[in-house]
Amino acid sequence: MIDFITNNWPMIVQKSLEHVSLSFTAVILACLIGIPVGFLIVNHDKAARIVIGAANIIQTIPSLAMFAFAMPIFGIGTKPAVFALFLYALLPIIKNSLIGIKNVDPSIIKAARGMGMTKTQIMFKVEIPLAISVIMGGVRIAAVTCIGITTIATLIAAGGLGDLIYRGLSTFNQPMIFTGALLSAVLALIVDFLLGIVEKALTSKGLKD
């Protein structure tokens, strides 16, 4: 395996970068859509049930099928892959944003309103800072899930570390399979670790134990 890595070093780096960029694009898009959606549905129980229900259904679709569904719309390549990954990343992000904001102590909001803070000020100065660790928890779950699922994106020619695994499988090249599998696992761990640091930096000292 060491031989394989040393001999194919540039290719492995390229595949890893593809992998990371696929997952990240999807997660960032999911954050951009998911976090605001989560905030919007906080005060609308009915809308919240519909959105969470829909996201739950998406989550149950097998990933292979999801990539297949995305193909007729986006063709093959990175576009359908990012789209499918984005859908998977949505649920944890929406759900955690919703729960994070919902769990903010209502008396804090009451005090903030009573003192004369506007809704926007309450959201950005109070609700988000207080919910940030829960929201970031959702982002971490989404990122780890996406890095795992991205390995399947090779089937619709989106590249990534899945290429190594599937090519290895078809050519009985065990070092190649292991390298692909191991690297995607290590990537997931590194990303989770880094996001953990971000989460810590964003969380006020007053909220830590």
């Binding site: 102590d105 008396s107 804090i108 909001i109 009451k110 005090a111 903030a112 309103r113 009573g114 003192m115 004369g116 803070m117 506007t118 000020q121 100065k125 109070v126 800072p129 207080l130 969380t203 006020s204 000292k205 007053g206 909220l207």
Partner: protein
């Protein structure tokens, strides 16, 4: 001045949470709204900073209709303290104190100085607490911060919604003293909601007792204790309450009103006759003014009449003119102190115009105290 006029609040159109409520709160007044839970006291208070809008009726502050004001600006002019405190856990204590001030004034240095001064005012050492987070403070300390925060914008009005109810009794007492001190010092108008009548009596200038969305009685603590308007108020304040606060009793509550009197122009013979009749050794000497008003001019004791059983000596000749008297409003404690100090047994009650109201005797003091003392039996 805050004026609530004909306020009605209903959520379903039939049940009136607030029912035609009128209330005027003077500048600098400490007004307490007290009542059982669900009586509408918190709703009434929250209408003043428009957290709740009335269904009908008008609320004005210094003559200006608050519905015409910007909600946010209005709230920033009014301090707000709630039972759950509601500090921002992700901000330090000093940031919390100037939470609203920092939205409008970007001068951080100045804001932090304001925060430190206010912490000082609520008896928290800024050097120790300013840069701590709320989780590091006790409940009592947190509510002190809550009070400091309400003062940060230097508002004229402060609303307090059961601010001390969640605290332990000792801390609660301290904070009650503190808020009274702050009120005396800064002269803010305070509207204070509580379900605890003891607290209301302790802190309030005036107390509005509420029931089912109406103000049943709105008076000074003394007046509510002494003259509850109906059985509800009587039961709410508790029948035996006067005993707890003898300070509340004044000379007019203790005095005997129908003590035997005699006109100044009468003779000693008539005085002896009258004493025998009324079985007393003391008479109040009075002069009649018009319209049944009586002026007290002196006191005559049996000792002064000894050997003077005639018709020539008039009361004006022998009565004691330099008697000690108190006004009807003098507190019982002061009366008792005066008795001890001067060694007198009879103290007449005379108002500023010299008009006679009654007289305080040993028996009258005992009588009043035994009436209000709980659990006494008449044998």
């Amino acid at each position: 001045m805050i004026q609530l006029q004909n306020i009605v609040k209903t959520y379903d159109g039939t049940t009136k949470i607030i029912d035609n409520l009128d209330l005027t709160i003077e500048d600098g007044e400490f007004m307490v709204l007290v009542g059982e839970s669900g009586c509408g006291k918190t709703t009434t208070m929250q209408m003043i900073n428009r957290l709740v809008d009335p269904t009908s009726g008008t609320i004005t502050i210094d003559g200006e209709d608050i519905t015409k004001m910007d909600k946010i600006q209005l709230r920033r002019r009014i301090g707000y303290v709630i039972q759950q405190i509601g500090l921002f856990p992700h901000w330090t204590i000093e940031q919390n104190v100037v939470a609203v001030l920092s939205l409008t004034s970007k001068d951080t240095e100045k804001n932090l100085q304001v925060a430190r001064d206010l912490l000082d005012k609520v008896d928290l050492d800024p050097d120790i607490y300013a840069s701590r987070y709320p989780k590091e403070l006790s409940g009592g300390q947190l509510q002190r911060v809550g009070v400091a925060r309400a003062l940060a914008n230097d508002p004229d009005i402060i609303l307090m919604d059961e601010p001390f109810s969640a605290l332990d009794p000792i801390t609660r007492e301290q904070l009650q003293d503190e808020i009274v001190r702050i009120h005396d010092e800064l002269g803010k108008t305070i509207i204070f909601v509580t379900h605890d009548i003891d607290e209301a009596i302790k802190v309030g200038d005036r107390i509005a007792v509420m029931q089912e969305g109406k103000i049943i009685q709105c008076d000074s603590a003394e007046e509510i204790l002494k003259n509850p308007i109906n059985d509800f108020v009587l039961n709410f304040v508790g029948k035996n309450r006067l005993w707890k606060t003898p300070d509340m009793l004044s000379a007019q509550d203790v005095m005997v009103k129908n003590f035997p009197t005699i006109m100044a122009s009468r003779s000693t013979a008539q005085a002896i006759e009258r004493m025998a009749n009324k079985e007393t050794l003391m008479l109040c000497v009075i002069e009649n003014l018009k319209k049944e008003k009586k002026k007290l001019v002196g006191l005559v004791g049996a000792n002064r009449l000894a050997g003077l059983n005639d018709h020539k000596t008039k009361m004006t000749d022998i009565m004691k003119k330099d008697f000690i008297s108190v006004t009807p409003e003098t507190s019982l404690t002061d009366v008792i102190n005066l008795r001890n100090e001067k060694g007198v047994k009879y103290i007449p009650v005379v108002d500023e115009e010299g008009l006679y109201h009654g007289i305080i005797t040993n028996a009258s003091i005992l009588n009043v105290l035994s009436q209000i003392m709980p659990g006494t039996e008449d044998y």
